[in-house]
Amino acid sequence: MREWAAKHRWESILIVVLAATIVVNVSLSPFYLGFGNFVNLFWLSIEKIIVVIVMTFVIINGEIDLSVASVMGFSAAVMATLYEGGEMAFVLAILIGIVAGALAGLLQGLVITRFGLPSLVVTLAGLIGFRGAARVLLEDRSVGDFPEWFERIGQQTLFGPFPVALVLFFVGLALAWIILERSAFGRKVYVIGNSADVARFSGIEVDSVKVRLFVASGTVAGLAGVLFAARVGAVQGTLGETYELDIITMVLLGGVSIFGGSGSMLGVVLALFTVLNIRNGLGLANIDGITQTGVIGLLLIGSVLVPNLARRYRLRRPAPEAMAHGPP
């Protein structure tokens, strides 16, 4: 137990924070422990948390995708525009919307790998560009009146009391977990994040891994856009705006290094639970959304700062081998 905590310091911190949050929440509101609240917790953020999972891969790989929220808007806009024309089966419109997201990811992945550009810059262009594309499609309209089944898609229970969206999320999470930590692909994601050159010299198909990750990111963002549309029942050009910061915050809070190469799915899941619970608790205490975001911002900084200061206090002297060559 202690050994585990020493090895997984970040996760241990998060477990403590999460436990504290839950205790406070329970004492705060009798509704907190209800099943309905639990389902709501996830359902109300479903479009964010599924993207968080893919973003974990992208950041461990040493890249970043700032465009996810705009791609969400773009995909939803494609779907809504096709549906609005009325000539296409709605299911097909949904599919094309998601494919549009995948293509957006593909485009960015190709530009990043072909030209060797920093993903921060390319996806910043994507952030602005795909949001623009969503506005081109929808201008300032709001498209709604989707079929009834679509608006219920998430809440529909699959088996027992579990809604479809929730089941899908947990299945997807399990899969992602296995891929990241048990598969060859996951291993490659870490190695590339450590050093793309080492990976390339070891015969790993670096560019292909990167492109696949950006396609995955685009596809899931597309799916998230569609789910968002289903949840709120309407699509506007601004759908999902500024979500990228929330999503990246959750990944970083999970202990994933912004420089790539390290981080764990457990950490990200704990961060995700923590953020959702804090928001939920603050919500129950009638604290508004902006303040909730501020609290999470504080937590993000604190989670890196506190261990840093503690380490500096404990070891005024660096280990001999680790410092032998100075910082990379």
Binding site: G62, V111, R200, G297, I301, V304, R312
Partner: protein
């Protein structure tokens, strides 16, 4: 080895500095686009349009400068939009209560910005937290503090001293309908001053040195922590000044004022040739980047064939084009100079740049 050891200062025409090439390229692109717009839009090349651009570009210019200042040292400041909001709101509140004049107001805005910037700087330079994490956090945090402080109320234009709303239109002199306004002149003055400081002051060169190779900077004994700290304070102060300009332009300020400007400022700097990996770029470049983006924004809406909704889509493509061009230029320059260095060193070795190229180019953001 020849005997002609260069005793005198070498001649200065042997090569072009890459940053000058970038600036010239951007200037040419701006000129061409203005000509294209002049062709598409009737009465485009008028004093009125010049006045609009020079007024509206002020906020983004100051923010691009703020952003560039920290990017040079291989950091980033995602909180500038929130700083603009806080500075604009607090300054507005202060003016509404006291009715003070412009100099005091500008000082208040700058101090507010510098204080917030120092929070970022403290955490990055002395707390050892990566800038992107710190400023992602303070982006939210500053906004939250503002929202709590404002209690949902806005600063109203009507409560401000009358000089505030006229400030934007103060014209120093007019040449053939082209008004040179005070706010634009302030922005230009700031850019030129910073450009000078970064090129000529030891402090400025050291900022570049840190961004170019942080561990070497520490090894060379540069006070890296304090340099990074002060660059964040400077960035905050510039964002504070931008906050004042924002107030002067908008008049009414809500708790969400300035949201989204952080990414626009990064975009302007990057289009202006500031390398996101630190160590290279110029203030003039960042300024040109801001001017270019703003010109496009204001012009596209006037092209009858183009729906106003195309603006951002177009902007995305543009940013991409700018960075691709930048990379191509940089590679070409490095290759040429690498070849020269090989000759100069007589015995050739695979240069750092050459190796990177052989290894297949950029390692993405983890390149540090």
């Amino acid at each position: 080895m020849t005997e002609s050891a260069a005793e005198a200062a070498p001649k200065s025409t042997r090569f072009l500095r890459p940053e000058r090439v970038k600036e010239a390229t951007l200037l040419a692109i701006i000129a061409v686009s203005v000509l294209v717009f002049a062709f598409l839009i009737e009465g485009y090349l008028s004093g009125r349009f010049f006045n609009r651009v020079t007024t509206s570009v002020v906020v983004v210019t100051l923010l691009a400068a703020a952003q560039a200042l920290v990017i040079f040292s291989r950091n980033i400041d995602l909180s500038v939009g929130s700083i603009v909001g806080v500075a604009a709101y607090l300054t507005g509140d202060f003016l509404a209560a006291t009715g003070q004049g412009p100099i005091t107001a500008v000082l208040v805005a700058i101090v507010v910005g510098a204080v917030l910037g120092s929070v970022n700087g403290l955490l990055v330079a002395y707390g050892g937290v990566p800038a992107i994490i710190v400023t992602l956090g303070t982006l939210a945090l500053f906004r939250t503090l503002l929202s709590i402080y404002s209690e949902g109320a806005n600063v109203l234009a009507g409560d401000l001293p009358s000089w505030v709303l006229e400030f934007n239109n103060v014209t120093l002199f007019t040449i053939a309908g082209f008004q040179v306004r005070l706010v634009f002149l302030i922005a230009v003055f700031v850019v030129v001053g910073l450009q000078f400081a970064l090129a000529r002051l030891r402090w400025g060169r050291r900022i570049y040195a840190i961004g170019s190779n942080p561990s070497a900077a520490a090894q060379a004994g540069l006070p890296t922590a304090s340099l990074v700290f002060w660059s964040f304070v400077g960035s905050g102060a510039l964002a504070g000044l931008a906050g004042f300009m924002f107030l002067a332009r908008a008049g009414t300020i809500s708790a969400t004022a300035g949201a989204g400007l952080e990414l626009e400022s990064v975009a302007a700097a990057v289009v202006g040739g500031v390398s996101i990996l630190g160590g290279s770029g110029t203030m003039v470049g960042a300024f040109l980047g801001a001017v270019f983006i703003d010109t496009l924004k204001l012009s596209l809406v006037r092209v009858p064939e183009v729906s106003e909704f195309w603006r951002d889509a177009f902007l995305g493509i543009l940013i991409l084009a700018a960075v691709i061009l930048d990379t191509v230029l940089r590679n070409r320059f490095n290759r040429r100079w690498s070849a020269e260095a090989r000759k100069a060193m007589e015995s050739t070795g695979p240069s750092a740049v050459g190796m990177a190229r052989m290894a297949g180019g950029g390692g993405g953001t983890a390149d540090a």
